[in-house]
């Protein structure tokens, strides 16, 4: 290897894969020069950077303002994953979307799905109790789990159960009676009727609390008794040790590794308790921890991450007027993840289950096609950087250079040997003259297109 990958750039590549949506080496070098502390601080404080206005996105993608279907909102989110200067809030929204899974398939209302996603984005780094209180008032969630049918005289347990099972403590930490008490405490929490869709399209809905439809009788929940309303229940939930472990495990799983490490999860759970349930504080400890820094390539990329990071490498959809944002976003569906439309309230099965025979084929085919295109902006830029200042490059160095460009990626030795042998390069590749560059660009694109076929590319 002739390219010495500095440890700082390599660590920055890891940070960007996990806390953002990946970055080319050119960006990593700039970030590494700024230093880890500064980059982490900026990631954790997205509020310091204004959100870009999205007038152009709406102007060039008329489908966004049509909002007849759910996929458009998914495309908007994909654009933000690729381009947001505040990537951690998009990343966290993706995590919470899997935890507090709501799907367009039932809500069938785009403005409502937008306000759900905005809620995840706006509160994702905040206080967990605040998040649960917002979640319980979100019209999409209310409709998704039938809260509008949870009446004082006819209790609907759906939300009450999932709040305990999937959104906080997890099974085994409460009884069926707790579920009933929880559901009763949320009676009367409903939403306003939306204006009919025709002739003017979809309208947002608002949270409504109906005092007269609330069960005001005494409830016993997790050993505490009182005339609890929904917020009281959430105040009790967030104090439970099981909730601390739950939040810690979710964050660990999303940011660190598919294999749980009980010690690391305990550490994060303690931060949850000590900080008064602040997600930002948990992430801060996490991003500085050895267990995070050492966990390179320990997570299977989710389809959204795989597509967004591939687009960032290929330099596609940087501009709102690029065609094809919607079909590109829809590629994640065949990989097992339709953004804003999870299969069930449980969200997606992640980790190993992102890889089955059909998903793997879709992942490889998508990334190989995008990165194997010599004309793609990003591929062309990375190729120029590889050739810059050189007359020729040895085959092994060329592979290293490609991996370095792709966010300081690493391959197992066996994989390297196979790629080099099948590529069959017999000598140094020339890249000095303009005349060399056509062949060089095609060759490098071919190599960029092969790397997504490796197992290693599936991991972040």
């Amino acid at each position: 290897m002739t390219i010495a990958v500095s440890a700082d750039v390599s660590l920055m590549g890891h940070l960007m894969r996990r806390a953002a949506f990946g970055a080319q080496a050119a960006e990593l070098e700039i970030l590494a020069a700024r230093g880890y502390d500064s980059v982490v601080d900026e990631l954790l404080h997205p509020e310091r950077i204004p959100r870009p206005d999205e007038d152009l996105l709406e102007r060039y993608h008329i489908e966004h303002s049509d909002e007849e279907q759910g996929k458009w909102t998914g495309a908007r989110w994909m654009f933000r994953m690729v381009n947001s200067p505040r990537p951690l809030e998009e990343k966290l929204a993706l995590m919470w979307h899997d935890v507090f899974a709501v799907g367009f398939s039932k809500v069938v209302n785009n403005p409502m799905m937008r306000s759900y996603y905005d809620m995840l984005r706006d509160h994702g780094l905040g206080n967990f109790g605040d998040m649960l209180k917002q979640l319980s008032r979100n019209p999409s969630m209310i409709y998704w789990l039938d809260q509008q049918m949870n009446h004082a005289d006819a209790v609907n347990e759906n939300y009450g159960r999932e709040l305990l099972e999937l959104f906080s403590m997890g099974r085994g930490n409460y009884t069926e009676d707790d579920v009933k008490a929880c559901a009763r405490a949320f009676t009367g929490w409903t939403e306003s009727q939306t204006i009919p869709r025709y002739p003017n399209g979809f309208y947002d809905s608002k949270f409504v609390y109906l005092e007269e439809d609330h069960d005001h009788s005494e409830k016993t929940f997790l050993g505490e008794t009182g005339n609890f309303n929904g917020d009281d229940i959430i105040d009790i939930i967030v104090r439970q040790p099981a909730t601390a472990r739950f939040v810690a495990a979710e964050i660990y799983d999303f940011f660190v590794s598919d294999d749980p490490d009980p010690q690391a999860i305990d550490t994060l759970a303690q931060v949850y308790v000590d900080s008064g349930h602040e997600i930002r504080e948990m992430l801060k400890v996490l991003l500085y921890s050895d267990f995070f820094k050492e966990a390179r390539f320990q997570r299977v990329k989710s389809p959204a991450e795989l597509v967004a990071s591939t687009l960032r490498f290929a330099g596609e959809h940087r501009d709102p007027y690029d065609f094809g944002l919607v079909p590109t976003t829809q590629k994640t569906i065949l990989m097992g993840q339709q953004i804003l439309n999870p299969p069930t309230v449980e969200g997606w099965h992640t980790g190993r289950e992102w890889i089955d025979s059909s998903f793997l084929i879709e992942r490889v085919n998508f990334a190989a096609e995008r990165l194997g295109n010599p004309d793609a902006n990003g591929v062309s830029e990375m190729t120029d950087r590889i050739a810059e200042g050189k007359d020729s490059i040895a085959p092994d160095d060329l592979l290293d250079a490609c991996l370095y460009e792709l966010g300081s990626m690493e391959l197992e030795d066996d994989t390297r040997h196979i790629l080099m042998e099948e590529l069959g390069l017999t000598g140094d590749v020339r890249c000095e003259l303009e005349a060399d560059m056509v062949d060089f660009r095609n060759l490098v694109a071919r190599l960029f297109g092969l790397i997504p076929a490796t197992r290693e590319y599936q991991m972040a």
Binding site: N156, S357, I361
Partner: protein, 380 residues
């Protein structure tokens, strides 16, 4: 008889199908008491007899029933029912109610059928994602979202594609199991199976010719894909398809009607298709869901319950109603739910032993009594 191998198609209804509005106890006065708002009126029910009838959307299934091809198995469940979708579905997938298991019952079945892994398409699932039921570490099972155009690196051509596929063949070549990186091992095995499976399955669509026009919805298209692969005779013995949306806490009347319309038409089209190709007798279909729903409705729908029912469909099935319909009497209910009379593993064991022809005990984690006379084994 044909000497054909028996084939099992599993159809999963996700979300907890409400058994009481599928096989409706319309002749039981308690049904009206408990289902004041989501009850199906007598004149809409498709009667089976004076007491029970099919949901109004199930006409095509009733036709199959009248041919004697549908076994209705009531009161199926497991001890200490879990009302979580996910845990309950896991239990059905792993045949393991008492602990979390990563091994699917159909994964184990595939291993029994093909222990030497001679055919990676012994098990094929259609839809988005391989269900846990089909998963077993080390045993191949193919998941297909869409049969047409299925394959690796299809955007490449010629020498470039050959080189890339050669690299993939080598990168995903088998190695001894490496405990140190379970995930990388899993990706390797999946990649290898995917490549082989794609090569085999690609042969099916060009061979297929049928007069049946399946509906344009994911379930119907999945069953069409299953028909294509089955008719291509590539040795698939276990198929899987699924449809979701049965979690009808609200708006039950309309939702249930649409769902069962979709299921009934797709299933009937599927069997008609096989029949047209003289390939129906070797196929049975098991339709199941993770749980039934509460006996009493909640004003607009029904909440999670237990004690649902299952269906077996096929020419070799001896049609009729099996097992007693769970009692609706309040004192016979299990905290407001139907009380299951038979363990679902009895049904699995029956199918595995009497149809698939493998020893069910290690697959379903114990010895369970089987149903008698539910199906006629294929003659060898």
């Amino acid at each position: 008889m044909s000497g054909k191998n028996p084939v099992l198609v599993c159809l999963q209804l996700s979300g907890g199908n409400d058994y009481m509005s599928t096989v409706i106890p319309y002749g039981n006065p308690l049904y009206r008491d408990f289902r004041k708002t989501v009850g199906i009126p007598d004149d809409k029910v498709i009667p089976i007899n004076d007491t029970y009838g099919f949901h109004p959307s199930m006409g095509p299934i009733k036709d199959l029933y009248d041919r004697g091809d549908v076994a209705i198995v009531s009161g199926i469940g497991y001890p200490d029912p879990d009302r979580s979708h996910f845990r309950s579905m896991d239990i059905w997938h792993t045949a393991q109610p008492s602990e979390i298991s990563p091994e699917g019952w159909l994964g184990r079945t595939i291993r029994e059928i093909d222990p030497d892994k001679r055919n990676v398409v012994t098990g094929v699932s259609f839809g988005t994602g391989l269900p846990r039921a089909m998963y077993l570490q080390g045993t191949p099972a193919i998941s297909v979202s869409q049969l047409e155009g299925y394959g690796l690196l299809t955007s490449l051509a010629g020498e470039e594609q050959r080189t890339a596929l050669n690299a993939c063949t080598r990168m995903y070549a088998p190695v001894e199991f490496d405990e140190a990186s379970m995930i990388m091992h899993h990706i390797k095995q999946t990649g290898r199976d995917a490549m082989t499976g794609a090569d085999i399955l690609r042969t099916a669509p060009p061979l297929y010719d049928s007069t049946i026009e399946y509906a344009n919805n994911p379930l119907a298209q999945s069953l069409r894909g299953i028909a294509q692969v089955h008719l291509a005779d590539v040795g698939t013995r276990i198929f899987y398809a699924q449809i979701g949306g049965f979690d009808v806490h609200g708006n039950q009347i309309a939702t249930q009607a649409t769902l069962w319309d979709t299921v009934s038409r797709a299933v009937a089209d599927f069997f008609d298709d096989l029949k047209e190709h003289d390939a129906a007798e070797e196929v049975i279909m098991l339709i199941f869901t993770e749980f039934g729903r509460r006996v009493r409705d909640n004003g607009n729908g029904t909440d999670h319950g237990s004690g649902g029912g299952a269906f077996l469909i096929g020419e070799q099935i001896k049609g009729g109603m099996y097992a007693d319909y769970p009692s609706l009497a309040p004192e016979k209910q299990l905290s407001g739910d139907l009380q299951a009379s038979h363990d679902f593993r009895s049904l699995y064991a029956t199918v595995l032993d009497q149809w698939v022809g493998v020893n069910p005990d290690p697959i379903v984690n114990g010895h369970f009594d089987q149903f008698d006379g539910l199906l006629r084994p294929l003659a060898a």
